[in-house]
């Protein structure tokens, strides 16, 4: 089960990417500052909202509080899909503050954003989730990147708004590690994930290449890869902080990830030409392929762990069946240093842990994170591999055999079994 060639290959790839990321980061450590805005572009922030009564008011307040010339900033709230609560009524209270409030019958975040894209004349378009809060200086930090005409999107650093239980503490660490990676991907011109909760786009890209895909469950991922496929740039302002409310319950987190990962898989199929393409630089040759490899490796490692656990349980049952004390099996763990030798696997594992610690603290330093990270970090180190593998196995299951899933206003029927039925039986 534990195949050494697979382990060595995975260790080599992960060490290589880890070294590459750290080299890239430290090579640019004195250039982490964001470019100054040369000429303030006009900005449209759109907040799509469906049943967001508890958070909509504070999100609008947060958008209004952003430090940016008021004559250059327009804010849309697009209530979509007939909210059952008071989202629309609460939003309308902000009409007098200049917020444009619209109610659409059609559901789906993509529809809401496309509505605003068609209405606005602003140069920069920002989608902001209705449970998201931005720091006041977020636009001043992000928008200088648009000085470069090749830049089509700029991502901030996403952080957790509430860090109450273990699930949220683990996600807090995950977001911080993600902040480091996004900055490195920016430096390697390979950003393939931008936060759907708050990303700035150059509006001319939509004019030229169309708006959001309304049938896509992760229209943000599709848009990111669409920009990459046209070989434009996507950048990241690591110190521009935006806060989102992360799922508290494991079940909600699971379904959020099923949506994200199914979105990734669909987007990967759609933009498969990027993978292994030298035209797309690091993204095509290293970042994309290693991201796919790391998912497979994590699933493999997860299966090995389950297999070993199963073996231990069988050994315990066997020992009991033979009238032996199962605790006897613990005697295999020896406390003599002779039985612990230096191995390349252990060496690389220690190195990987050290590299991930450096990445984490760099992300904390450059995103000015002040959250209490200790318990979250331990939880992340111990549990993340299991969560990550379980989410991916769930997503792969639905991709292969799933019937129909509903996320917000979008229905997903894109499993291989459904596509096969459509192609052959209709």
């Amino acid at each position: 089960m534990l195949s050494m060639p697979i382990i060595y290959a995975a260790l080599f790839i992960s060490t290589f990417t880890g070294v590459l990321f750290l080299l890239t980061f430290f090579e640019n450590i004195n250039r982490m500052g964001n470019p100054r805005i040369r000429k303030y572009p006009s900005v449209c922030i759109v907040i799509p909202a469906h049943n967001e009564e508890p958070s909509i008011a504070s999100t609008i307040e947060s958008a209004l509080a952003i430090d940016y010339p008021k004559n250059k900033l327009e804010i849309y709230v697009v209530e979509n899909g007939d909210s059952k609560d008071k989202t629309y009524e609460i939003a309308k209270k902000y009409l007098k503050k200049g917020v444009k409030v619209v109610s659409l019958k059609k559901g789906g975040k993509g529809n809401a954003m496309n509505y605003a894209i068609n209405k606005t004349k602003s140069e920069i378009f920002i989608s902001m989730d209705a449970d998201t809060y931005a720091d006041k200086d977020v636009l001043k930090k992000m928008l200088g990147y648009f000085n470069d005409p090749e830049v089509m999107a700029v991502a901030p650093t996403m952080k957790s708004k509430q860090i109450d239980n273990l699930s949220q503490k683990i996600q807090n660490i995950e977001y911080l590690v993600g902040a480091f990676l996004r900055k490195v991907y920016h430096l390697l011109d390979s950003v393939y994930v931008t936060p759907g909760a708050f990303t700035a786009y150059r509006k001319t890209f939509f004019d030229k290449h169309g708006g959001f895909d309304t049938k896509n469950i992760t229209e943000d991922i599709e848009m990111t890869l669409r920009i990459q496929s046209k070989r434009y740039k996507i950048t990241n302002a690591i110190d521009a902080s935006v806060y989102t409310i992360t799922p508290k319950k494991m079940k909600d987190l699971f379904w959020q990830r099923i949506r994200w990962y199914l979105g990734y898989i669909d987007a990967m199929f759609q933009y498969k030409n990027i993978l292994f393409s030298t035209k797309h630089g690091y993204l095509g040759t290293i970042i994309g392929p290693t991201a796919v490899a790391s998912i497979l490796y994590m699933i493999y490692l997860f299966s090995v762990m389950l297999f070993e656990l199963g073996k231990t349980l069988v050994a315990v049952a066997y020992a009991e069946g033979q009238g032996s004390n199962p605790l006897l099996l613990l005697q295999q763990l020896k406390f003599n240093p002779f039985y612990y030798s230096f191995s390349v696997i252990g060496f690389i594992a220690v190195l990987a842990v050290l590299m991930s610690i450096v990445m984490f603290f760099m992300a904390r330093r450059f995103s000015s994170d002040k959250s209490d990270y200790k318990i979250g970090y331990i939880g992340f180190s111990v549990l993340y591999i299991f969560l990550f593998a379980a989410w991916w196995l769930g997503a792969i299951y639905y991709k292969l055999l799933g019937k129909e899933l509903r996320f917000g206003g979008v229905v997903w029927r894109n499993s291989l079994v459904n596509n096969f039925k459509l192609a052959h039986f209709n």
């Binding site: 080599f12 290589f16 070294v19 590459l20 290293i286 032996s324 006897l328 099996l329 230096f342 060496f347």
Partner: protein
């Protein structure tokens, strides 16, 4: 990509160096352990020789000699360390043969002492196989280690049934061992797994 190619090459070079360094340190660590086991083997060999000479010189006094039993404990440690190195894919065939020779020598010495001094020690010969072929061998080994730790006067000798070392094959033929695990407790053969209680009862009944 052009400007960044050198960075990828540098990362690749560092990774290769890390791996080469890791493998070299790993081999170094393993050879130092093989060296330590060789030292242990020499120590056991010298002591064992000493007792043989003592046996020839003063047969009667040997009944009072307590240290002979200690060698069996050292042999157990030697065997455990060899098994660990074998698992690490180290070539320890020669050491394993020497280990088996020492075990057989000690067993013969103890058998002589038992004859002359009235069954002073219990003896167990344990024939095992690889865990892939012998489901219960791992557990049997652990039960025997526990028994030894409870009573140092029980002499336990382990032999790999699949090995081709002539003295071991001879022992296998002498006791008609056809399957694993097989235990020969005080000369009596048992061809199945024996748990702690079974072992203690059999040893006590002798």
């Amino acid at each position: 990509m052009k400007q960044g190619k050198s960075k990828a090459i540098a990362a690749l070079a560092i990774t290769v160096l890390i791996f080469i360094g890791g493998f070299m340190l790993g081999n170094l660590s393993l050879s130092s352990k093989i060296g330590a086991v060789q030292d242990l083997q020499n120590e056991i060999y010298t002591e064992s020789m000493g007792f043989e000479v003592l046996f020839d010189l003063a047969e009667d006094n040997l009944c009072e000699e307590e240290n002979i039993a200690d060698i069996n404990y050292q042999l157990t440690e030697f065997g455990d360390k060899l098994a660990y190195l074998e698992k690490k894919d180290a070539d320890v065939t020669a050491l394993k043969n020497q280990y088996n020779s020492l075990e057989i020598k000690h067993f013969l010495l103890i058998s002589d002492i038992n004859e002359k001094c009235g069954n002073k020690y219990d003896t167990i010969l344990y024939f095992y196989g690889p865990t892939s072929a012998c489901k219960s061998c791992l557990l049997q080994g652990l039960e025997l280690s526990k028994l030894k730790s409870e009573n140092l006067d029980i002499m336990i000798y382990s032999f790999d049934y699949t090995g081709d070392f002539a003295p071991v094959r001879n022992l296998i033929n002498t006791y008609d061992v056809e399957r694993v695990p097989t235990l020969v407790i005080n000369g009596e053969r048992y061809e199945s797994f024996l748990n702690g209680d079974d072992l203690r009862n059999l040893v006590d009944s002798y």
